[in-house]
């Protein structure tokens, strides 16, 4: 056995037991008769027909739509910051990166709850406006914009860091050469900077999209259940409805969408190059 395979073995065995096996269990369960709790039943497609006939597609569309909006907003918000981290901030970059990292380690619930306290009637924002200007605007809490705000907030680092990695892969020499050859600022960006930093940007987009599609807490905490994402449907099937096979079938569909996307994008990448092997 090669030393590489030998050191890979523990992790691989663990992921087979903890990742592959549960997923196979879910796929198998999605073919069991509705409302059963064992693997012994006769396989059937009834759960999938139920989903097609139901209104679950609305939740699917909400999840995908929210994911797309989150990714687009984050790409626009993060690009200048990532650019600054690589090219402008110099020795301050480490500190700024650290500041952006810290919230990642605080439970997402707590941070979303902080937004509730900020946005709620008589909260930090509206309370301040009221005491300074004497007017009291409507709160955006429990509306769609609040959900989008929460998602942009929570997934911010997942876009920023891969993007920074991507931009740092553009050699300064290549930019200088393009400038010397008379390229305009915009041309350098479009012809040199953007294509060369694309791997990092794409990884960032993929990561945030996948996480956003699987998000559940934002819609619950900030959305006041105004919008039901697909993960919420899955959770209901597993808990209140006690219909595990239906929940499993919904999970399989979600996994299929996410999995296809991840495989398509990851196939094109050389991870060694991205992570810095010399």
């Amino acid at each position: 056995m090669s030393p590489g395979l030998r050191s890979a073995l523990p992790v691989v065995l663990f992921l087979i037991a903890g990742f592959a096996a549960p997923l196979i269990a879910v796929i198998w369960f999605s073919f069991m008769p509705a409302r059963t709790f064992s693997f012994g039943g006769t396989p059937t497609l009834e759960n999938y027909t139920t989903i097609i006939e139901s209104s679950n597609y609305i939740s699917f569309l909400w999840s995908l739509g929210l994911g797309a909006v989150t990714v687009t907003l984050l790409a626009l918000i993060c690009y200048p910051i990532a650019y600054g981290l690589v090219r402008i901030f110099g020795k301050w970059s480490t500190l700024i990166t650290l500041l952006f990292t810290i919230p990642l380690f605080v439970s997402e619930n707590i941070r979303l709850y902080g937004w509730v306290l900020f946005l709620i009637k008589n909260g930090v924002l509206l309370g301040t406006i009221k005491s300074v200007f004497g007017v009291e605007p409507e709160s955006i809490l429990f509306t769609l914009p609040a959900i989008v705000l929460g998602m942009v907030y929570v997934y911010f680092p997942f876009m920023l860091f891969p993007m920074t990695l991507g931009i740092s892969m553009v050699p300064q020499d290549t930019r200088d050469a393009a400038m010397d050859l008379g390229a305009s600022r915009w041309q350098v960006f479009r012809e040199v900077e953007l294509p060369l930093s694309m791997p990092g940007i794409l990884i960032g987009c993929l990561l945030t999209f996948v996480l956003a599609v699987g998000a559940i807490a934002e819609a619950k905490v900030l959305g006041g259940q105004q919008i039901i994402p697909i993960t919420h449907d899955i959770e209901i099937a597993f808990t209140y409805a006690q219909n595990w096979p239906l929940g499993a079938a919904l999970s399989v569909l979600l996994m299929a969408v996410v999995g296809t996307l991840v495989l398509i994008v990851l196939r094109r990448f050389n991870l060694d190059q991205l992570l810095g092997r010399r």
């Binding site: 890979a8 402008i88 911010f156 597993f238």
Partner: protein
């Protein structure tokens, strides 16, 4: 002209970044403010400041139980994850072997996977195996997501590791164990250290995996979530502040330690 345009662009980027930092810390500040309110309900501007709820929360036996469950899970996850990921990272970045490129992609899959769905899949899996749910199953669930993350973190350190060091030690007659103890581990220590920080903090803050896999045991994020959806409880901001400050202290302390370590190494 050109320099003025450049300067303008730089100040715009700086201003935008500062705005983003403020945006990132708004919720944290709100939580801290709420924890310092003496009244039963949070209202801004705060009429009565006080530490009453801090005292009540810290004296509660239930809260101590929560903290100890969360810390136990996080410690177990850290030890197991770093051990597995250390070897995982060597396979990821140090050795050239046949299945490496495939292996690297397999490692990424759990990270690129919706965690709430992973939590439910694990619930179903534990149920199939007939395992009773407790904090121990939660440790397993956390590991499925955290081992790949820590493997990546350590791999970044391994990429800059020069294999010639190990070979030199072998040539000088060191045994496999000696090489591991005297060369590989010390050189990779900064990576292992940041890996353990990541493991501990990600487990400490995790909610979607804990939600479905802890059974009767409750972690801090689960408790906070249950209280949040039930309405306003003054203990929530206090516990949230404790959780946040704990993470900041650990992270800054760890960062300072690593920097100090690098300095002493550079001066040697």
């Amino acid at each position: 002209m050109e320099t003025r345009a450049v300067r303008l662009r730089h100040s715009l980027v700086t201003a935008w970044t500062l705005a983003a930092i403020v945006f990132i810390y708004i919720p944290t500040i709100c939580i801290i403010l709420a924890s310092l309110t003496a009244s039963r309900y949070f209202q801004f501007p705060i009429a009565r400041w006080g530490l009453d709820w801090w005292q009540k929360t810290l004296n509660s036996i239930e809260i101590r139980q929560l903290l100890s469950t969360s810390i136990t899970i996080a410690l177990c996850v850290t030890v197991i994850a770093v051990t597995l990921a250390f070897f995982g990272a060597l396979a990821f970045a140090r050795y050239d072997w046949k299945g490496r490129s495939l292996y690297q992609k397999i490692i990424l899959l759990p990270i690129f996977f919706p965690q709430s769905v992973l939590g439910l899949a694990l619930l179903l899996w534990f149920n199939t195996l007939g395992l009773p749910l407790s904090w121990k199953t939660a440790v397993f669930a956390h590991l499925v997501w955290i081992v790949p993350v820590v493997t990546l973190v350590i791999s970044i350190q391994v990429y800059s590791f020069d294999p010639a060091l190990e070979e030199a030690a072998f040539d000088l007659g060191a045994s496999r164990l000696q090489v591991l103890r005297e060369v590989t581990l010390p050189v990779l220590f900064p990576g292992l250290f940041s890996g353990s920080l990541f493991a501990f903090l990600l487990s400490w803050g995790n909610f979607p995996l804990s939600l479905y896999t802890t059974g009767a045991d409750t972690t801090v994020p689960e408790y906070l979530y249950a209280k949040m959806v039930a309405g306003y409880t003054p203990g929530v901001p206090v516990l949230g502040t404790i959780s946040t400050i704990g993470a900041i202290v650990l992270l800054l302390g760890g960062y300072a330690l690593i920097t100090a370590l690098r300095r002493t190494r550079a001066s040697e």
